[in-house]
Structures are given as structure tokens and as C-alpha cells.
Amino acid sequence: MWLPLLGMLLGFAVGVLAGWEIPDEYSNYLSIAILAAFDTLIGGWRAHLQRTYDELVFITGFFFNIILATTLTFLGIHLGVDLYLAAVFAFGVRLFQNIAIIRRLWLAEWAERRQNREKS
């Protein structure tokens, strides 16, 4: 469970130390991509807890969501409609749902453990 967190920290450190910066105009795209990536990560975590995790679905979902979100943003900027809001909405809602499911799974596990302790 701590391994992904460690990976993320490692990636963060690499990103900070490498000193990469993207032009300001592209920071919109990146923030939407980050939202999509975050959503996929949380989704993967939830799938792992529910034991329905599929590697292929996860990896393809990660990249496909990022590409879709940035494409929507790009289209939105060029059409003059804030299409990125669609991505923000979709990913935002899913994020909350997934986190709620993770919380419930944890709660259930915790309740079960307490019951077991009381029994013994």
C-alpha cells in the first residue's frame, strides 16, 4: 500500500529536482491532465481494494483519460466553449464517488476487525 505513495514521492522529487517548466499557456492542459491522472489513480486504488483491479484497464485508462481531458480542453479553447469543465465535472464526481467507496470499504474492514476482537 505504501509503495505507490513512495513512487509518487519519488516522481515528485524527480520533477522538482529536474527543474522542468512548461510555458504558461500549457499549464491549463497540465492541470486538467493532473485531474484525470488523479482520478485514474484513485479509481485503481478502489479497484484494488474491491479486488477487481485489472492492469490493462488501469494503464490504458490512465493515458486515455489524460489524452481525452487535454483534447477536450484544447477543443474548448479553440471553440470558445469551456469544455474543460466537462472533464472537471466528470472526473470530480468520479473522484468523490471512488473516495467514498474507499472510505466505506475501510469502515467495513474496521468494523469487522472490531467485531472479531470482541468475539475473541
Partner: protein, 239 residues
């Protein structure tokens, strides 16, 4: 084995996410201003600061001198020091007549022999302001336009089509007087300045006199309105 591979892919994706997050944060955070001045710019800045320091020190010395003066006079019981200061301030505010060496400029309508267009009757405020800037650039200390002394508060503006300096309308030809500490510098500066061409463009001719040893510039006629000061009555002061 399979479980291990699964974990690895998750970790890699998480790492990619971390990199993205770091890049975004680096981009959106305001980067600190880098000092890119080279040695000569640093030297120039240093010189500027030193000059400022020098100026401040001089002012400080001046004020200390005044303070000492006041204290001495106070002991003697006279208001002479105060009066001297008032006179100094009046001079600074342009309320006194000033004599000194300077030059006289003349602005007159200019037209070639075959010119048939409208005759210019006034000089535009922009042009006058440009002339004043030019005079100041070459070290003019006091300036009067058409007998109106220029102070920090004098407005040069267009009122109903006629240029006014302070409250005085300017009609051509008009005389501009300037006093400078270094008249030769003022004269030679104006002689090479493109300001005369600017006047020619507006069908005006600017003639510049040779430096004169005595030029009288009248006091400002505008009364400075004092809004936030009141005269202290002698009785109040003693209480």
C-alpha cells in the same frame, strides 16, 4: 510474480503523476526574480546609490546647520533665522524676482514667402512643454514664458483654443526667458537641440539670443493656496 508486476505498474503510474504534479507546481508558483545584472550595471547602481547617499548627507548637514542656527538665535531672542528661512522658501517657491545670466528666446510666426495657409496665432501647449523640458535639460534654473514665471505649480494648457501659461494667455510673438548657472551650456545645448525644427513644423520660429549677463525674471503672480495650514496666533503659542 503477477502481483509484483501489477504493483510495479501502479507505482510507475503514480510516479508519472508525481512528476506531472511537480511540473505543474513549478509552473504555477511564482519563480523568484533572478539578479542578472552584470558587473557594470552593478557599478552603475552602486554609483547611483552613493550619489543618493551623498545628497542625503548634504541635506542632513544643511538641516543640522539650520537647527543650530535656530537654537543660537532663540537664545538671542530674535526671529531673524526664521525670517531668513521664510525668504529662502519664498525664493524657492518663485515668489521673488530673480536676476541672473541667461538667454532670451523669441517665438514668432514663421512663414516662407509663398506661404498662403492660415497664420498660427498661438503655440501649442505640447510644444511649450517640450521647450520647457529642453530648457530644463540644459540646466535652466528659472524660466518665464511671456512674463509669467514658471513654478512647479504652473499649468501650461489649452483654454478655448488659446494656450495659457498659468492664468496668462499666450499670443505670438512671445518671449521666453531662462536663467541658468551655466549659460554657455544652455546656449550651446539649445543651439544643437532639434527643438527649433519642432517649432518650424508648427509654422513657428524660435530665435535664440546670445547669452546675456543680466536677465530679470518676474515673481510668480499665482498665490499658492494653503489648504491645510493655519496661522498660529501669538496668544495660542504662549499658552
Amino acid at each position: 510474480m503477477l502481483e509484483w508486476k501489477k504493483r510495479l505498474s501502479f507505482v510507475i503510474v503514480a510516479a508519472v503523476f508525481g512528476v506531472m504534479l511537480a511540473v505543474e507546481l513549478r509552473t504555477t508558483m511564482p519563480s523568484e526574480e533572478r539578479d542578472t545584472r552584470d558587473i557594470w550595471e552593478l557599478r552603475a547602481d552602486l554609483t547611483k546609490e552613493q550619489q543618493l547617499e551623498q545628497q542625503l548627507l548634504e541635506e542632513l548637514e544643511d538641516y543640522e546647520e539650520k537647527l543650530r542656527h535656530y537654537q543660537e538665535k532663540e537664545a538671542a531672542g530674535g526671529g531673524a533665522a526664521l525670517e531668513a528661512t521664510v525668504a529662502e522658501l519664498r525664493e524657492e517657491a518663485g515668489l521673488t524676482e530673480v536676476k541672473g545670466s541667461g538667454i532670451v528666446l523669441m517665438i514668432a510666426p514663421f512663414s516662407t514667402a509663398d506661404y498662403v495657409g492660415p497664420v498660427t496665432a498661438t503655440v501649442s501647449p505640447e510644444l511649450l512643454q517640450r521647450l520647457v523640458n529642453e530648457l530644463n535639460k540644459y540646466g535652466a534654473r528659472e524660466i518665464a514664458i511671456g512674463g509669467e514665471r514658471l513654478t512647479n505649480r504652473t499649468a501650461i494648457r489649452d483654454i478655448n483654443g488659446i494656450t495659457n501659461v498659468g492664468r496668462r494667455p499666450i499670443r505670438l510673438p512671445v518671449e521666453v526667458k531662462a536663467i541658468a548657472d551655466d549659460v554657455d551650456k544652455l546656449y550651446s545645448g539649445l543651439a544643437v537641440s532639434p527643438i527649433r525644427d519642432d517649432f518650424i513644423v508648427e509654422n513657428l520660429e524660435l530665435s535664440i539670443s546670445k547669452p546675456k549677463s543680466v536677465i530679470v525674471i518676474p515673481p510668480s503672480t499665482e498665490r499658492p493656496d494653503v489648504k491645510y495650514m493655519e496661522t498660529a496666533s501669538a496668544g495660542k503659542e504662549e499658552k
